[in-house]
């Protein structure tokens, strides 16, 4: 082989790799108007997939936020493992060419007239609507608490965004050094990533141990119900881990009030109000659908009435009363699925049914409730917890990665592969 043949061969090898990109899916010609409310994980991923599937559709995405947040990273920021900017990117960076982005909030949805009105007064008509605005954190529901307290006086609230997650670490790291009583909470409403409150508890406990302060800390996990997790087999595993780590569960405790001056948290319990003193308190407020959704008449009338999730079919995510409306992500009124991993499973389902409806046929894809949580139990180990509507474990790597085992490989996946997978999903490629 001479030098030229050799270089040709190398280039051919590289080209072979480059051609491995996904083949374009079959496109459907249409002039339909599709409005997507929300440019988060679900809205962005769907927009990227729809532009490849539809030829001529007018796709409009409505979202006021210039910043895209990689929310699965917030629990890492709140444990000092990543900087705040780890979770922040630009919304525009992920949106495809050829769609309209209205950088305003949706203020009114009229499913009868098929219109969406924005905060800037624009009214957009749609043939199909995808509701994916995420959820709102109802911090006001906790008496005596406000977001400006986060980071001081031993108060954390990692869900509130990257800056608050970083401030949460400021308060939590002090606790891991000085010790005392740590009280970790979760709300009684449906919530995004029900594993995150546990992750934060495990991580702060682990970091205190690593700092040599295990003897100085007492950790209480205040849980809204009697089960530590919605999936019974996982709840049982968490109970065992808590026992092993000396984390005390306070069952059926829902945070009601914070007295930051006296460092006392008050909980609603079946036996009435109970007070717990704290040196570090992690607050996760009740979570609800945004007002624009709750006022639109799209919510369930007889379920989650204080939360307002969208009334959709569990399998197709299509609205039960308005077949031209779909819901994706946190706002969807289904029993599971408020995680980015769920979105990854949901988006192709809505894509299938939406494109089929435009083509005049019926979609066949179905969402089984897949939800996943790489539940970090300490720095360096995690459990890959994946389940469906029936509370079955649905491991991605059966026989290889055991679902309820604390493993290094699950931590490696969270550290190395999860954000890239998320980003690929945003681009519609995973």
């Amino acid at each position: 082989m001479n030098r030229r043949q050799f270089i040709t061969l190398s280039a051919a090898g590289a080209l072979l790799g480059a051609s491995a990109h996904t083949a374009p899916a079959q496109t459907v010609k249409t002039s339909a108007s599709i409005v997507i409310i929300g440019a988060g994980a679900a809205g962005t991923s769907l927009a990227n997939r729809l532009v490849r599937r539809l030829d001529g559709a007018k796709i409009t995405i409505v979202d006021p936020s210039e910043r895209h947040l990689y929310q699965p990273g917030l629990s890492l920021v709140a444990a000092g493992l990543k900087p705040a900017d780890y979770v922040v990117s630009s919304t525009a960076h992920w949106l495809p060419d050829g769609i309209d982005w209205i950088a305003e909030a949706a203020t009114e949805i009229d499913p009868e007239a098929r219109t969406v009105t924005t905060s800037g007064g624009q009214t957009v008509r749609y043939d199909f609507l995808v509701v994916a605005p995420g959820l709102v954190l109802d911090h006001d529901a906790i008496e005596g608490f406000s977001l400006d307290m986060v980071g001081e006086n031993g108060i954390g609230a990692l869900y509130a965004g990257p800056d608050h997650a970083a401030r949460t670490w400021a308060a939590a790291s002090k606790f891991t050094e000085e010790g005392g009583v740590g009280v970790f909470t979760r709300p009684a409403t449906e919530m995004k990533c029900a594993g995150a409150p546990l992750k934060h508890t495990f991580l702060i406990d682990d970091i205190a141990r690593t700092n040599g302060n295990a003897g100085k800390t007492e950790i209480i996990y205040a849980n809204n119900s009697q089960a530590l997790f919605g999936v019974p087999i996982v709840a049982e595993k968490v109970r065992m881990l808590f026992q092993d780590r000396g984390i005390a569960p306070a069952l059926s405790h829902v945070l009601k009030r914070v007295d930051a001056g006296r460092r006392i948290a008050t909980f609603d319990t079946p036996e009435g109000e109970k007070e717990l003193g704290y040196d570090y308190l992690h607050v996760i407020p009740p979570q609800r659908a945004p007002d624009v959704v709750r006022q639109s008449g799209l919510s369930w009338a007889d379920k989650w009435t204080d939360q307002g999730w969208v009334e959709v079919d569990m399998q197709t995510l299509r609205h039960l009363r308005y077949p031209d409306v779909f819901a994706l992500g946190d706002v969807a009124g289904v029993p599971k699925g408020k995680t980015a991993a769920s979105v990854k499973w949901q988006v192709p389902v809505v894509e299938d049914h939406l494109v089929a409806a435009i083509a005049g046929s019926e979609g066949t894809a179905s969402y089984n409730g897949y939800t996943s949580c790489p539940m970090i139990t300490r720095v360096g180990r995690a459990m890959l917890v994946e389940f469906d509507y029936q509370n079955n474990l649905v491991p991605s790597f059966p026989g290889i990665i055991a679902p309820l085992e604390e493993l290094w490989i699950s931590w490696l996946m969270k550290e190395l592969a999860l954000k890239p997978t998320y980003n690929a999903m945003l681009r519609g490629e995973a």
């Binding site: 180990r381 990665i401 550290e415």
Partner: protein, 119 residues
């Protein structure tokens, strides 16, 4: 993992390293492998002296690969929790060892080709 296709894997790796760096690494790996094959064909035999150096480099490659992964992922040896962890750990070490030995052998052969009398 839904639809774990080759295309998905490529997309994920592109996001992991950045598109430019990922394809640079792929091309680098391909070029080094081809260079290795090239020197084997050119020399028509394995030079035992260079092979010895390559073998001696293997432990360093193994340790370096493991150290890199542990450092990047903020983990330590005590985090290995199950059989799959040990397999992955040994796999990383083996890749580092073989990778460095190929690099050392190839570099040695390209820098100091065998004298004619040797072949």
């Amino acid at each position: 993992m839904k639809d774990l296709t080759f295309g998905t894997m490529i997309a994920v790796f592109e996001e992991m390293f950045g598109r430019g760096l990922f394809w640079f690494l792929v091309v680098a790996a391909v070029v080094i492998t081809l260079a290795y094959i090239y020197v084997l064909i050119r020399d028509r035999s394995v030079s035992m002296k260079k092979f010895l150096w390559a073998q001696l480099s293997m432990p360093f490659g193994a340790v370096a690969a493991v150290a890199l992964v542990l450092w990047v992922t903020k983990s330590s040896l005590s985090d290995l929790g199950g059989p799959i962890d040990v397999i992955i750990f040994l796999g990383i070490a083996a890749l580092g060892a073989v990778g460095l030995s190929i690099l050392v052998y190839t570099a040695g052969s390209l820098i100091a080709p065998p004298e004619r009398s040797e072949g």
